[in-house]
């Protein structure tokens, strides 16, 4: 790919990028969130059209208008949010778009899928329904889907984001065997350790531009970090934790609840978070984290158990009641949980409109003033009347953070706070959390990012299939141990 540029509105996502992939190579496309990696690969796969530039395959220029062309050229994509149809079976997903004629011979298709699975050494059950599969299994289906279409190039977008350490190892060994068979892999990631471990070559993007390109063996994590963000290390080191025996501010006692399908999502979860403490809940997505956050947000009822905030029973309380009890909530998917079409100011006051209205009428000046104060205090790059949806991910998160922290909550329930944010925003959010901890808030941090959990937590609880596997001090916990717990392996 040479000279690829792509603009979305006012944002230049790709700025004259060059990218070269050789046969039998695992090539990392590295960059922080928002650097343009996914955009570049979506152009390769035909989902976007570049504004400028040219793609060459085997030195011949090609035009890729749509995924159909990309597949024709042997390019397969395993996206971050799998492109699978959940009520359908594995086979139905695999043959989608590859059927000849009108009639479907499902038995024949199942056989073909079984054969392909054996050929590529990927374990899948053709008649299984996607909905019932684990995340790791779904990823395998996605990979098989690409290979089934005779892909020679596999583009994998953040493949390890949803895997436990052990599954990551399995994935890596699969990738190595693909390499031997002559396939090439584009490995999109922002995780330096993994890039060093598995790849042959690294292309680093920063803010849409090419920051550097090196063979992996000639570089190290510091160098890559420097290319990625312009500094040689990032992240903050925590000050040593002080042992205070404060009282628990948030207590969950045998909380049990169901998910949207009526299946058990949380099974007798018991947790306590003390004032001035961060309890991190680790786990692979889909093990109850979403439901846990929803219970504490007041939008999901519990079928058993109780929730107490500073000894006040708030079991099954409404969101209003939760907030009144002093619980501040940062939702998991921030963009989906703010009103994009409304202004920044309106979103800031939405949770406590009664403070800003007299007899039902809004006090618009007070709202403006409030918004301006928060914007200044939290360095939000937006003005009160900007539509919320025009804000960048980082600023969006700051708005939510601002409105929650301005209430001086006693308890903070925070879910995936830095997902999708660039490094600067990530640091800001994490520093604010530590600040709140220092001021005595009890923080429950639910995150799929194990590094984040290790970095911020005092205590770590691992959630697996709705149960707390273990709770231990963060000091001294290793990713390996936690990985085992996250995969459901109890200590013997």
């Amino acid at each position: 790919m040479r000279g690829i540029s792509k603009r979305f509105g006012t944002v230049l996502a790709n700025d004259r990028l060059d990218f070269t992939l050789r046969p039998g190579e695992i090539h990392a496309l590295l960059g922080e969130n928002g650097a343009g990696k996914t955009t570049l690969m979506r152009i390769l796969y035909g989902l976007y059209q570049a504004d400028e530039g040219q793609i060459y395959i085997n030195s011949l220029p090609v035009t890729i208008h749509s995924p159909k062309d990309a597949i024709h050229h042997g390019i397969g994509m395993v996206s971050q949010h799998f492109a699978l149809v959940s009520p359908n079976t594995v086979t139905e997903n695999l043959i989608l778009g590859m059927t000849r004629g009108l009639r479907l011979n499902l038995r024949q298709a199942h056989e073909a899928v079984r054969a392909a699975a054996a050929q590529f050494g990927i374990q899948v059950e053709p008649e299984a329904v996607i909905r019932d599969l684990s995340v790791g299994q779904r990823q395998r289906v996605e990979i098989l889907k690409a290979l089934y279409r005779k892909a020679k190039v596999l583009v994998m977008d953040e493949p390890t984001a949803v895997l436990v350490p052990q599954e990551v190892e399995q994935l890596f060994s699969s990738l190595r065997s693909f390499k031997e068979k002559g396939f090439s892999v584009v490995f999109i990631s922002h995780k330096l350790q993994e890039v060093m471990a598995i790849t042959d070559h690294v292309t680093v993007l920063r803010a849409g531009r090419l920051a550097g390109e090196v063979p992996t063996k000639d570089t190290n994590t510091n160098e890559l970090a420097r290319l990625m963000v312009g500094r040689s290390t990032f992240g903050m080191t925590r000050k040593s934790d002080d042992e205070h025996k404060a009282l628990p501010a948030l207590v969950l006692e045998r909380v049990t609840t169901l998910d949207n399908k009526g299946l058990p999502a949380l099974k007798e979860v018991s947790l306590a978070v003390r004032a001035g403490e961060i309890v991190g809940v680790a786990g692979v997505s889909g093990n109850g984290q979403t439901e846990l956050a929803e219970v504490l947000a007041g939008i999901r009822p519990v079928t058993q158990g109780s929730v107490l905030v500073c000894d006040e029973d708030v079991t099954n309380a409404t969101p209003q009641a939760m907030m009144a009890a002093g619980v501040g909530r940062i939702p998991e998917d921030t963009r989906a949980n703010v009103i994009g079409q409304m202004t920044v100011a309106q979103n800031m006051v939405l949770e406590k409109l009664h403070h800003f209205s007299q007899k039902g009428t809004l006090d618009r000046q007070a709202i403006s003033r409030y918004a301006e104060t928060l914007i200044e205090d939290y360095q939000i790059k937006a003005s009160p009347n900007d539509p919320m949806r025009t804000l960048s991910g980082g600023n969006l998160q700051k708005v939510v953070l601002a409105r929650v922290l301005a209430q001086k909550p006693k308890v903070l329930v925070v879910a995936q706070p830095t997902r999708g944010l660039d490094v600067a925003a990530t640091e800001y959010v994490r520093s604010k959390l530590l600040e709140q901890r220092a001021e005595g808030a009890a923080i429950l941090l639910i995150s799929e990012d194990l590094d984040e959990i290790l970095q911020l937590s005092d205590m770590i609880a691992v959630l697996y299939e709705g149960r707390i596997m273990d709770m231990r001090a963060a000091h001294g916990a290793t990713p390996h141990e936690l990985g085992l717990l996250m995969a459901g392996v109890q200590k013997g």
Binding site: F8, G9, Q49, A50, D51, E52, G53, Q54, I55, P61, V62, T63, I64, A297, G298, I299, T318, P319, Q320, M323, R329, P331, A336, N337, V338, I339, G340, Q341, M342, Q346, L350, E351, K352, L353, H354, F356, S357, G360, T361, L362, R364
Partner: protein
């Protein structure tokens, strides 16, 4: 060369011209029908748009026609703004008309200062009552309100037909129309010896009230939040169920008022055809007005204009009056398309991938 469509707001001049372009395109598309009758499309356009404005009598007629349209249009716009798809305005109107008639028939010995508020209140409450079942089904059982409100329209019309053919059948003429309501229950004229009645003022007040609620109250903000993103609204502590219920009831009440207005202001008794589809036209008006009260008011007047003009067109040019219906439906679709196009910028792009020179 390829056509490239990007998510970039269209230039402001385009957006301001949308109403004009929609109208032009609509008339263009429907001119075929006029030509089929050997008539001149430009002349038809004149009768639709200009003639009703040409003399005071016609103008008043436009305002008379606009009255129910303002009410149904704002009723629909209010509901849609809150994320509640109230397609049952027609039925709610019918029930409001029925209640107004029922009360009006009892007001023979009651002075106007008491009779009028009772009639108005009755209409509003009846409309609210008819809107209740679908609203509860939505809130408790999560059943989509589109179908339930629609089906109840037919039930309401059957109900009115039943009482008009039964207990309220006019004893003298034996036609399916109710006896006349008391004189004290009749809406006073705004201009002596004209058809313009109190309902017009009421409609303006309602529009003003809706504008105030939507832009200046906390309830307005909450209901808009629910309309934009129901999950985010719930997360923010808004009682989504209660908000939806209130939106549905208020919308139904306004529709009921439209029914009362038609009975007490125009017909003075209940008839089968008390509404020639005002409820559905309300949807057109709400969409044309982009759901905001000012736009809805303008759209209502515009449709009132077309409705008045349609009669003239039919009389003068022989084109059936249904042309007005086709015109309005086309205008709706064209406007819908235009409103969407305003969020996109269309440009021509050179093909990517041409061999480098």
């Amino acid at each position: 060369m390829r056509i490239q469509v990007e998510r970039n707001p269209a230039p402001v001049w385009f957006r301001a011209l949308i109403p004009l372009m929609s109208i032009l395109l609509t008339f263009l598309l429907t001119s075929g029908f006029v030509l089929a009758y050997g008539a001149n499309p430009l002349q038809a356009a004149y009768y639709f748009l200009m003639d009703p404005l040409s003399n005071p009598v016609r103008l008043i007629e436009v305002l008379v026609k606009t009255t129910p349209l303002l009410l149904t249009g704002i009723a629909v716009a209010f509901a849609f703004s809150g994320g509640y798809w109230n397609i049952g305005v027609e039925g709610q109107l019918y029930m409001g008309a029925t209640a107004a008639t029922a009360i009006g028939l009892q007001m023979h010995n009651t002075p106007a200062w008491l009779a009028l508020p009772l009639v108005i209140l009755g209409g509003i409450l009846a409309g609210m009552a008819w809107a209740t079942l679908p609203a509860l089904m939505k809130v408790w059982l999560k059943i989509d309100e589109v179908v339930t409100t629609l089906l109840l329209n037919y039930v309401a019309i059957f109900f009115v037909s039943a009482i008009l053919n039964g207990p309220w059948r006019d004893p003298i003429s034996q036609w399916p129309q109710s006896p006349e309501i008391a004189a004290s229950a009749v809406f006073p004229r705004l201009i002596p010896r004209s058809r313009l009645h109190l309902g017009f003022i009421l409609a303006l007040l309602v529009v003003l009230g809706v504008w105030f609620v939507l832009s200046r109250t906390s309830f307005g903000l909450k209901m808009k939040a629910v309309g934009f993103n129901i999950e985010a609204a719930r997360f923010s502590g808004i009682n989504v169920e209660r908000t939806l219920l209130m939106v549905a009831l208020i919308s139904g009440g306004i529709a009921g008022l439209a029914g009362a207005s038609e009975v007490a202001g125009i017909h003075f008794h209940l008839i089968d055809a008390i509404s020639p589809g005002y409820g559905y036209t309300g949807i057109i008006i709400a969409t044309l007005g982009a759901l905001n009260p000012i736009g809805v008011s303008l759209a209502a007047v515009f449709i009132g204009l077309i409705d008045t003009g349609a009669q003239t067109v039919s009389r003068a040019l022989g084109v059936p009056i249904y042309l007005g219906d086709v015109l309005q439906a086309t205008l709706l679709l064209v406007t819908l398309g235009m409103l969407l196009l305003q969020s996109y910028r269309i440009s021509l792009r050179r093909q990517v991938g041409a061999p480098a020179e």
